[in-house]
């Protein structure tokens, strides 16, 4: 059973990359999303061990949830691309800065068109077992990534968190091990009050910069907002420890202040 679970997990992780890649490229993803949901339900079936409800009933409920998520993902990734296209065009029109050709939106369009062509030749969902990032696989140049990142940061600074989130998410999916991308995505979710989603992304970011005091502070704040007081206390302590070691004074003070506002621990 353990081996089977591992196998299913591997299939799920492999398919995640492929599905995200396809969602990034596809204009109309409706049919593809249905296939992806069906594939994930097959994985679920392999592990489903409850006698009640029957798997058919279970799948009936689960399927729209998975499809809903994939539709949302697709919309967000499409929106991110539209935002970048518009922002790049506006920058080019302003002519304040000169950008390298590699940082143009055309480069991106060519890359995903080519990727989509390649994907169409094989079974998209199970056919992608590459361990590199999408950026590497598709040869997206760093100047494009950097320019997009600047757009996202600028949107964030202006308070357009909804749009900034879409761009950060796109970048995160393209290059998952860049700390700033995942942290940016989490921050947008955090500011907008989506503490649950922010928490998941902050935790992913902790893998990249485990001793970052600001990150730990934000994470603790998320726990606090979600009512997880025990976890919040633990992570505030950790944020203070990191901040003291790195002499980030304002985080030390703020973390202490926030921690002091937590309800007192019940006596054991």
């Amino acid at each position: 059973m353990v081996a089977q679970k591992e196998e299913v997990q591997k299939k799920f992780f492999d398919s995640s990359g492929a599905i995200v890649a396809a969602l990034l490229c596809a204009q109309d993803a409706k049919g593809f999303i249905e296939s992806a949901a069906t594939y994930w339900l097959q994985l679920e079936k392999e592990l489903y061990d409850a006698s009640s409800p029957s798997f058919e009933e279970h799948a009936k409920q689960l399927s729209p949830e998975i499809q809903g998520y994939l539709h949302t993902l697709h919309d967000t990734l499409r929106r991110a691309q539209n935002i970048l296209r518009a922002q790049f065009a506006a920058q080019d029109k302003e002519k304040k800065h000169t950008f390298a050709k590699e940082a143009s939106f055309a480069v991106w369009q060519e890359a995903i068109a080519s990727a989509w062509k390649n994907m169409a030749r094989k079974d998209v969902i199970t056919g992608m077992q590459d361990t590199r990032s999408l950026q590497e696989i598709w040869n997206i140049p760093w100047p494009f990534m950097d320019r997009s990142y600047q757009v996202a940061v600028s949107l964030f600074d202006q308070g357009h968190y909804y749009d900034a989130h879409a761009v950060f998410m796109l970048l995160h999916f393209l290059s998952p091990t860049v700390f700033a991308y995942v942290f940016g995505e989490a921050s947008c979710q955090h500011v907008r009050g989506n503490f649950f989603d922010a928490l998941a992304n902050y935790l992913i970011a902790t893998q990249l910069e485990p001793e970052n005091p600001v990150l730990a502070f934000q994470l603790a704040c998320c726990y606090q907002e979600l009512g997880e007081q025990t976890s919040a206390r633990l992570v505030f302590d950790y944020a203070i420890e990191c901040a003291e070691r790195q002499q980030v004074v304002n985080i030390v003070e703020r973390a202490k202040e926030k921690k002091s506002l937590l309800p007192a621990l019940k006596a054991a």
Binding site: Q67, S175, P176, A200, L234
Partner: protein, 554 residues
């Protein structure tokens, strides 16, 4: 000039006079000689159907209106498109007028419309968020009888409203006979964006969903969730117990996602939950939703819901005012201080607590005449010196006035001067912080310090695992780590009460370290792995938690 008012739209007959009108307009517009008076004169003439001399005062000028009120401007654009449509239809019917020259004139006219849309975009970019009410009105107006030309117009407007000007221009330049399906697919994402914006727009987005033959199902779901919320004893308590309510709302949200897939993907109902961190806001939103979708609410419930809607509108108005004050570069410090005090005081008056959230029972103390009084007080606020030049005040103010006169007739007549209630305005807090949640502001500031750290961030080689990983341990290790993510996330559903404590079995281990040392220590940084984590997180957040949990072996 409202698009909704069909009587205000004349149907200009196409004749030589009409062609002359277009020629004049195009030449003046192109040479930038279209003075306000000239534009007004031309438009007036176009809209006066058969008797130009009796032309009614339709518009001062598009440009002036644009500066004054974005919504009306958009309505003005819609009117212009109507004119173009009538003219084109007329031209197509009349063989005598179907000349190449006239076609060029019509095309130029459309290009002018695009130019005006560009102006609209520029104007709108000065405010924080676009106003889409006009667009909704436009859509409502044309939806019953969509024609090819109208479809094109709707696409243009939709693209323009989402700042996709290239697409908007491309649509105008190419065929106007776009398929209805295209129109719908363009409009759907707009619905998503609408939810992102203010409550008026959210209501419109909900109306859009509701009109798509799914009203009963959606209303039933939301009502069910609302009733669940209402019956929870914890819900009545303000602080500390709102988490349960949030979880229920999240549940409701995932139901909405599922139901709405075929009509509109209600992508971001988190906008609803964002202000709900206090029970009072939760209650207000519940009333708000009830009003928006309920088909079977009692009269009393409706009255309460309407009062809630009006108060929410007022809060939104005050928040807009606070943003204006906070971002103004022309106001003096004295004006800003006065404005801050006036706005916060007004917030407290309408039932908010000192942290900027509605108190749970505020609705019980609000009468219809109170609403009238509040509205008059808002009128006075807008007349204050600090509000001078604040253009966005007008549409919001009129929205509130409209809501009150429609839903609570007689409120103004019976209202009196607002009494000097004994309220303590919190010190050392700006109206912006009061209305927009200081915590969010803090979060943004903290994040900025890291986001600005380097303009060209690069992948990070994660810390290595102190112990040598087994080659076959990749998946179990991942599962353990993702389990950390998932466990924390699932705890919000109440599945695990203390997830991190459960994970950190030894007293010296810190959860973050556990997660960090396990995942990347095994060099499992591949595409599937890293994206898989994000996808699992997304699935869990979306409600499909069961799948994620099973996959993670929990």
């Amino acid at each position: 000039m409202s698009v909704n008012s069909s009587s205000s739209v004349a149907s200009p007959t196409i004749d030589q006079e009409g062609i002359n009108f277009l020629r004049n307009f195009n030449s003046q517009f192109a040479s930038d000689r279209a003075s306000p008076d000239a534009v007004a004169q031309i438009l007036r003439r176009a809209l006066s159907s058969t008797t130009p001399s009796e032309s009614r005062p339709f518009i001062v000028t598009l440009r002036q209106v644009a500066k004054r009120d974005d919504v009306e401007f958009r309505d003005g654009i819609a009117e212009l498109i109507r004119i173009a449509m009538h003219l084109e239809n007329g031209m197509l019917r009349s063989r005598a007028l179907r000349t190449n020259e006239n076609r060029v004139i019509i095309r130029t006219f459309k290009e002018n419309i695009v130019n005006l849309l560009n102006t609209a975009r520029l104007l709108r970019s000065r405010s924080e968020e676009p106003t889409l009410v006009g667009l909704c009105r436009f859509h409502d107006n044309i939806a019953p009888n969509v024609t090819s030309m109208q479809t094109m117009c709707a696409r243009v407007l939709a693209f323009a409203a989402t700042d996709r000007m290239e697409s908007a221009q491309a649509d105008v330049a190419t065929t106007p006979f776009a398929a209805l399906q295209d129109y719908l697919s363009t409009f759907r994402p707009l619905g998503i964006q609408l939810i992102e914006y203010g409550s008026n727009e959210r209501a419109n987005a909900l109306a859009y969903v509701r009109n798509a033959n799914q009203r009963g199902a959606i209303a039933g779901r939301i009502r069910g969730a609302s009733q669940q919320l209402a019956t929870l004893p914890e819900f009545a308590n303000a602080d500390g117990n709102s988490r349960l309510g949030q979880n229920l709302l999240r549940h409701m949200q995932s139901r909405l996602h599922a139901i709405g897939n075929d009509i509109i993907r209600v992508n971001d109902l988190d906008a609803f939950t964002t202000p709900m961190r206090h029970a009072g806001d939760l209650l207000m939103q519940r009333k708000y939703l009830l009003d928006a979708v309920s088909t079977t609410a009692s009269d009393e419930e409706r009255q309460v819901a309407k009062r809630a809607v009006i108060l929410m509108k007022m809060k939104e108005f005050l928040r807009e005012a606070a943003i204006h004050v906070a971002t103004s570069t022309s106001l003096s410090d004295t004006d800003k201080a006065t404005a801050n005090r006036q706005l916060i005081r007004m917030g407290l008056m309408i039932g908010m607590d000192p942290t900027g959230h509605f108190i749970p029972d505020c609705l019980q103390h609000v009468s219809v005449s109170d609403l009238g009084t509040y509205a008059e007080e808002i009128e006075r606020l807008v007349s204050s010196p600090w509000a001078r030049g604040w253009q966005q005040a007008l549409p919001l103010r009129s929205e509130i006035a409209l809501a009150i006169t429609r839903d609570a007739p007689g409120a103004f007549a019976s209202s009196t001067q607002m009494p000097e209630l004994d309220v303590t305005v919190p010190e050392n807090i700006s109206a912006f912080q009061f209305f927009s949640d200081g915590a969010a502001n803090d979060t943004a500031q903290a994040a900025q310090s890291l986001l600005h750290r380097t303009p060209t961030p690069r992948p990070i080689q994660p810390p290595s695992q102190p112990t040598t990983p087994q080659p076959s341990s990749r998946l179990p290790t991942l599962a353990a780590v993702t389990g950390g993510v998932a466990a924390a996330a699932y705890s919000a559903y109440g599945i695990l009460s203390t997830p991190l404590v459960a994970l950190s079995t030894s007293a010296s281990s810190i959860p973050i370290r556990i997660a960090a040392s396990t995942i990347y220590g095994t060099a499992a940084t591949g595409l599937g792995t890293t994206l898989g984590l994000a996808v699992v997180g997304g699935l869990a957040a979306y409600g499909a938690a069961r799948l994620g949990m099973r996959l993670l072996g929990r």
